[in-house]
Symmetry: none
Subunit: 217 residues, 4 copies
């Protein structure tokens, strides 16, 4: 839909550096990248440190050289997701397009990324904030600022759209938040509920119809 060959590199970068120059950095990376997938596929609790170690081709003990405990490793995977998301958002924000185009591009990128993790539901959607007690406590301070950050970038794009007369006069943060949620809906429906849903385009269309000024025919 939109040109994105350059941007895509951000999402895929991790699949390349298996050459291991600095052991240190590489193992950490490898572990995180492995853990991302396993956590996503199996869930936090069902995933064992042994699973991760095995999949990352390191010994169980090695994990603890790089991460204080399971929780920390999990948080590191979240961090990773967010970093990429923010990078992509920033990248797109600074391109030259209409606000709507930027947002459509973002949606496309995100959905691609999520879909790329195949059966792996990307862990950083909002609901994960609510995961069970103790881990939640540590997550909020990590996650909330990142969501805020993401929301802010999108807010700016929305503002831009409002200023340009593309969008209706709406509180930009709310539109931004709803936008992220809409992306999730599109991805989720397409991906997991294809039996009863297959209209991510239609959903996006509804979203933009709600956001945009009435066009004059």
């Amino acid at each position: 839909m939109t040109d994105q060959s350059v941007i895509n590199e951000y999402w895929l970068k991790e699949s390349k550096d298996h050459t291991m120059r600095k052991k240190n950095k590489d193992i950490r990376e490898r572990v995180i990248n492995t853990a991302v997938k396993i956590f996503a596929k199996t869930g936090y609790f069902r995933t064992t440190m042994e699973d991760i170690a095995h999949a990352a081709h390191v010994a169980k003990g090695t994990l603890y050289l790089y991460f204080k405990d399971k929780e920390s490793l999990y948080l590191a995977t979240l961090e990773k997701h967010f970093d990429r998301a923010v990078t992509v958002l920033t990248e797109i924000e600074t391109t030259e397009r209409s606000a709507e185009e930027k947002m459509r591009c973002i949606a496309e990128q995100f959905i691609n990324y999520m879909t790329g993790l195949k059966d792996a539901y990307p862990v950083f959607t909002f609901e994960n904030l609510h995961t069970t007690g103790r881990i939640m406590k540590k997550m909020r301070p990590l996650v909330m600022p990142r969501i805020k950050q993401m929301t802010e970038i999108i807010s700016r794009i929305v503002e831009e759209g409002i200023a340009r007369g593309e969008f209706i006069d709406i509180e930009p943060r709310i539109a931004a938040f709803y936008f992220l949620s809409t992306i999730r809906t599109a991805f989720f429906g397409e991906c997991f509920m294809s039996e009863i849903f297959s209209g991510s385009d239609a959903v996006m269309k509804m979203f933009f119809k709600g956001l945009k000024k009435k066009e004059v025919y």
Copy 2:
């Protein structure tokens, strides 16, 4: 916003039947109603069978007389959620209102229900479909038809709206699905991310602006 005194009863029904006529049925019910809350508050994995047994004032072993295992008990709580949701939807569908009014009423009901479980993120939103491989396998056959059912009821309301000229000509299922997702967004934002979000009304407004025909002023 809308009159809902009658409908509310459905959500609250469980708090009444502590009279225990048919012991059997009563224990099962009591366990489920207790488990709903505990699972919601503590999460599936952190919740122990002992927690539930204790809170439901039965012995641990008793749980296994009524439910094959923890998973089954969990699925039973899901059923409960869905049953209520469907009941409410059906109830509202058959009232005499405009399509938009029905949908707004639904949103209100759902959000009330979710909020009523306090800090407990209601377990039946879509993403839970994806929890942990093994359990998911058993969940799909249970959950998918229910979501389908819910979607269908809402679809009919949407169709109604289209037929009446309230809504644009859109695939009703997609609108229905998106509608449920929008409810979730409104609830979630309001409830867990109040720091960065507080516009459930605005979100709903955007949704309906996207759905409704351009009004002539």
Copy 3:
């Protein structure tokens, strides 16, 4: 040396009740009695919960029904030692004998008990107070009062001896403390260092020579 058939029962009681009337009490007892020996033989750290469970013919998990953790089980074994020691001391204190006879009887009892645990160095001698950090913190409040209690009983016997003109005029507590230490010496030398030592009688003799008034020949 002294008649002690009755008193001995206290030390040996645990070897009898394997009939298990009240499961509850019996398992707890059995575990403690087993743990006493294993801890003594193998040491706190080298002893695994599995070792104890196995030796006590219960499952690992069962241990945790009766004891919060390894530490608590260990402390319970200490408690046991002390209880018996105090019982024996009290028993002997109230008999009709000279102070010296009482003390010799105590020494004999203690040494018998220790020796009865064969290779098992009884864990309640004073130096255990100093075992490694965390466990120590919990031990002191448990152990110190017990040692105090033991010391006090013996102190009273010493006082008695002083009052009767058997012993020199010495601070009774110090004599009591030294007495317990002397018992340990006698046992230890006899038991573990027989190659270079075999004079528990001679040690006791020295102790009493130091304690008693010069006899007039």
Copy 4:
């Protein structure tokens, strides 16, 4: 109480040679001297090789160049303790004093040394012989001869006292063994049980009263 400036040097020697001429010897020494303190403070099991390596400013792997394993390192620290003890004993034996004076000097030295290791219960008292089966097996052949050696030196002093008519006619080894135990008692009571004990002088006095001939007043 007694002049001991010269003798003290033996105990303190390790704090001087940080000049590191022969690297080899120096690292080994440094490790042992560090380990002595850490083992004493933290206990054998709670002490990790990393702790020691870190404190001794060497890498973990380096420890294994000088010691086969943790156990061997521990045994080496015992050696150290014993070496010093024997040196001190020998030193004192050859001075010109009465037997009692020599023994009092020994007691003072030992207690000073123990106290110098601060909260660290000196690891070479007899009871440590009994730590944990496996290690014990290796310890006995190392430790027993040393204790024998120490006992013998003290025995000679006792014999001397007997010969000079200072002491009663007692088996010197037993007196020697009891003497070491009495030192331990004095130190231990003073150091760890000050709440219920504070009479190391009184204890020593009792010991010597038991050992010495009745004086004629």
